[in-house]
């Protein structure tokens, strides 16, 4: 695997073809953007953190905000990571209250801390007002459907034959190209520009 990248387990059973994540908060950018990037990540995977913190802010600024790329987050929590499922619940609970990006940013930013002590709650609480944090806690604790989009994403990941996280599925003109690993921005930029020029 690439530096601290994480291998995905082989799919055990064939799964039905999945569709886009159920929750709109996982999608950003124009629906009519010529390119869609589906980004599979695991919150406890260090390479996913690197990609999110180093590459994605520039992608969002230069391609998503400008309407060239639609970004779809896909959760791919891996069984070997102890706290990733819980982190995913916090992220999606944040999404339910309209604070998805804030919570995702904080989860990735503080990954080394909560991956060591398991206290995701304390880290997320640092970036949300108390009222919103309470709503997130309630959702994490009680919402039985919070993992529904994760189930869909995992199924799609198996359909896409993921071998590791992070992985991008770059969709352009119906052509689906998979790139696994932490792509440096200059490489991704060059690739996206070539696609946009076609």
């Amino acid at each position: 695997m690439l530096p601290a990248q994480t291998a995905a387990p082989k799919p055990a059973l064939p799964v039905a073809k999945a569709t886009a994540p159920a929750k709109n908060f996982k999608e950003t950018g124009s629906p009519s953007a010529p390119i869609t990037i589906e980004l599979y990540s695991d919150y406890e995977c260090p390479s996913c953190r690197g990609l999110w913190m180093d590459t994605m802010p520039q992608v969002i600024r230069e391609y998503v905000v400008t309407g060239k790329v639609r970004l779809v987050h896909r959760d791919f929590p891996l069984p070997q990571h102890q706290y990733t499922r819980l982190a995913t619940r916090y992220a999606n609970a944040g999404g339910q209250i309209g604070r998805y990006e804030t919570v995702v940013d904080q989860i990735f930013k503080t990954q080394p801390i909560w991956a060591a002590n398991g206290n995701i709650d304390a880290e997320v609480a640092k970036v949300l007002p108390p009222g919103e944090m309470q709503k997130v806690r309630d959702l994490v604790k009680n919402d039985l459907h919070l993992d529904d989009s994760v189930t869909v994403d995992l199924a799609q990941g198996q359909t896409d034959r993921l071998t590791q996280t992070p992985t991008m599925e770059i969709v352009h003109k119906g052509n689906r190209q998979q790139v696994a690993g932490a792509l440096p921005f200059n490489v991704l930029k060059s690739y996206l520009d070539q696609m946009l020029a076609k």
Partner: protein, 140 residues
């Protein structure tokens, strides 16, 4: 007997190089750029040109070995290329990088088995090169 061994060696090595090239060429070029980048030895600006050209170099070397034309030179170039890859793998292993080999596309972790395999390929390439040059000396 010796001729048969050299023939087998160059066909095997040629096929492996061509297959390695094919696995990279069928994927989008950024995939190989990620693999190159994981070794942490080249600047970011080199990733695209290397990711676009190296698979073709492997393909040319593979086809060259299979055809047997200019065997000593294709053998020498293969030895240098594989030797360079092998030294990078040893370096990465020694400094504790937990990375993808990148030899036949993504998903194969760098470890003792991949290094043993690549070391064997280097030895094979070296053997072909030496045989090629020896043949030239005896013929010339």
């Amino acid at each position: 007997m010796k001729r048969a061994a050299i023939l087998a060696a160059r066909l095997i090595l040629g096929a492996i190089l061509a297959y390695a090239a094919w696995t990279k060429l069928r994927a989008p070029w950024p995939q190989f750029a990620v693999s190159i980048n994981s070794y942490q030895v080249v600047p970011l600006t080199w990733l695209e040109p290397l990711a676009r050209t190296l698979p073709w170099v492997e393909m040319i070397l593979g086809v060259g070995l299979i055809t047997g034309i200019a065997l000593r030179w294709f053998g020498l170039a293969s030895t240098l290329l594989l030797g360079f890859f092998f030294s990078l793998m040893i370096r990465s292993w020694a400094i504790g990088l937990n990375i993808d080999c990148g030899c036949f596309g993504p998903g194969e972790a760098l470890g003792p088995m991949t290094m043993l395999r690549d070391g064997t390929l280097v030895a094979l390439a070296l053997g072909i090169t030496m045989a090629g040059f020896r043949r030239r000396v005896t013929e010339g």
